[in-house]
Amino acid sequence: MVDLGIRAVRLGPLAVRVSARSVLVCALLAVVAVAAATAAVLLGEIQVGLPRLLVTLTGGGSAFEEYLVLDSRLPRVVTALLVGLALGISGAVFQTVSRNPLGSPDVIGFETGAATGGLVALLVVGGGVAGASVGAVLGGMATAVVVYALALRNGLDGLRLVLIGVGLGALLLSVNALLIVRADVYDAQEAGGWLVGNLAGASWDGIGWLAPLVLALCAGALALSRPLTIAELADDSAAGLGQRTDRLRLTAITVGVLLSSLAVAAAGPIAFVALSAPQIARRLTAASGPNLLASGLAGATLLVLADHAARELFQPRQVPVGVVTGLVGGVFLAWLLTREWRKGHA
């Protein structure tokens, strides 16, 4: 009998489909993410040994160790994990909904829009850090509404969405630059650092509101996994299988925009993680469908590694993590475009 390549764990009335490879990939990604995070806490210009880390974690470290590990490196690494997770899952949701690898929030202007919202709150309204977070979420939502309103016409055309998103993103980038130019020097410098994506300001206070929101939204996205797998097909095919795509799309986009906007609120618009994490995850699992969990874990791993590089490569100076993801991701984007272009003309 032919092997269908589909496995399930069956127990009484339960029959849950599992892919051994996807489970393995997710487990490995989780291990790598934790290992990278641990390395990021231990290694750097100042090295901390594993025994000293354990001592510090249990409250026995020196004042300097407490500052370095507990107040500086650990919150930064945890924030990187959360932001990476949010970006990876958000990217996977958007790429599935738009049926286009370029349909991710960093390419189609949603992160730029969130940044505009954050800047307006920071520089114009003067709402401080909390205000900037709310502004970022509102900005991201507003951008999504505009882009989808313009892209929808008898269903959603992925390419149309990407083109409109890229256009609006360019416009918002100029708006962001304008906001910075018009601000006073001190504000402008701070906002400028935030604008390329920066994890240096991570704190436990920030994690306090970021973690529950991100984890809840990730759980919400995972619950959409099966319908999204069907929505990958053309709208008519999905409808024929009993999955209405319009309502699903609205829910999925809402969850995706909130995730990417929260990431921007916490760390600024970090480029290319949302774009590349789902692509990496898909190649590792070799599974169709949105691969949400694997994408999230890949995003977390990528961002921890990128932030470690940003922190240590140019010591004694630190560069914002967005510079590193921008450099690496730019190359990745060029490769992806070439590949898609070739496929389109094959």
Partner: protein, 314 residues
């Protein structure tokens, strides 16, 4: 007794079995389908006085069609006559602006979509295969309406998928990537996905497009087997009039969004009707292979004046 041979092509003797004032009566039967007292047909799927269109462009107005249960109903007509639109309406992809499509006595747009998908399957015209998906995985998606969070892949699912792969002859391709297949293979895989859904009613929008003649016949033979052996009801939009005549048990001819004739192919297809529907002068002969009508275009009398005959130039 269906459309008589002598009926002029624009008559619609069978189009509105429910219309008041007609002698025929319809009576509700099992599962809400209606029976035509005169023909003895029951109809689980029917469009009742529907107005169909896109945005503000109306394609069909006050259109009524009852699909006979257990039939292979084929809709034919010129390009843009509204046959695909009607099929989309029947498949609940398009919501009628007026009137309603009924499945088993229930308005199809008000029924839960997944429940409808367990009774009525669809092979749409335009398909998108996700990147890097295998044939087996794609066909398995046809099981979606039968699945839930806790019942994702049961033995029934597996059996239905194997059955569908075997019926369409793509078993050997199960582990291949859909991207790598030829057009004909891909079309059979999509058909397998629709079959895996295991619905008693199956709607097919131009299922033979992209296929060479051998594969066209193969797909239609498969549809005929589903009808004859399993009692399924099939509704297809076809372009090839001769194949439509050969396979249809119930032929529906459309023009300008309206049904102009329906019934058995040998009763519906006349030279006058083809001229009326397609604007094509032709001869209709019995197909030497099965006796169904064979439409042969006449020489040099195409009404599309690309190169007008010399007499007309004077």
């Amino acid at each position: 007794m269906r459309t008589p041979l002598s009926t002029p092509p624009n008559a619609r003797p069978n189009a509105r079995p429910n219309a008041p004032g007609e002698s025929r009566t319809t009576t509700p039967t099992r599962r809400g389908s209606t029976a035509d007292a005169r023909t003895g047909h029951t109809h689980r799927l029917r469009a009742d006085a529907v107005t169909l269109g896109y945005d503000r462009r109306v394609i069909s107005e006050d259109l009524t069609l009852a699909v006979p249960d257990g039939s292979f109903t084929v809709i034919v007509g010129a390009n843009g006559c509204g046959k695909s639109t009607l099929l989309r309406g029947l498949a609940r992809l398009l919501k009628p602006a007026a009137g309603a499509v009924h499945l088993d006595g229930r308005e199809i747009h008000r029924a839960p979509s997944k429940e409808v998908a367990r009774r009525l399957g669809l092979l749409p015209q335009a398909q998108v295969a996700p990147d890097g998906i295998t044939v087996a995985d794609l066909v398995a998606r046809g099981r979606y309406p039968h699945q839930s969070l806790l019942r994702q892949w049961t033995r029934d699912d597996e059996e239905a998928v194997r059955d569908a792969l075997a019926a369409t002859g793509v078993e050997d391709l199960a582990e291949r990537l859909v991207d790598e297949l030829s057009g004909g293979q891909r079309q059979r895989v999509w058909l397998a996905m629709a079959l895996a859904q295991r619905t008693e009613i199956l709607l097919l929008d131009e299922p033979t497009t992209y296929l060479d003649i051998a594969h066209q016949v193969e797909v239609l033979d498969l549809c005929e087997r589903l009808r004859a052996e399993r009692g399924h009801t099939l509704v297809a939009v076809l372009h090839d009039l001769n194949l439509a005549c050969r396979y249809a048990t119930h032929l529906v001819a459309m023009k300008d969004g309206a049904v102009v004739a329906e019934g058995a192919p040998d009763e519906v297809i006349t030279e006058a009707l083809v001229e009326h529907v397609y604007g094509l002068a032709c001869r209709v002969l019995p197909d030497p292979e099965c006796g169904t009508p064979l439409v042969i275009p006449r020489k040099n009398v195409s009404t599309v004046p690309s190169t007008p005959p010399k007499e007309e130039l004077r």
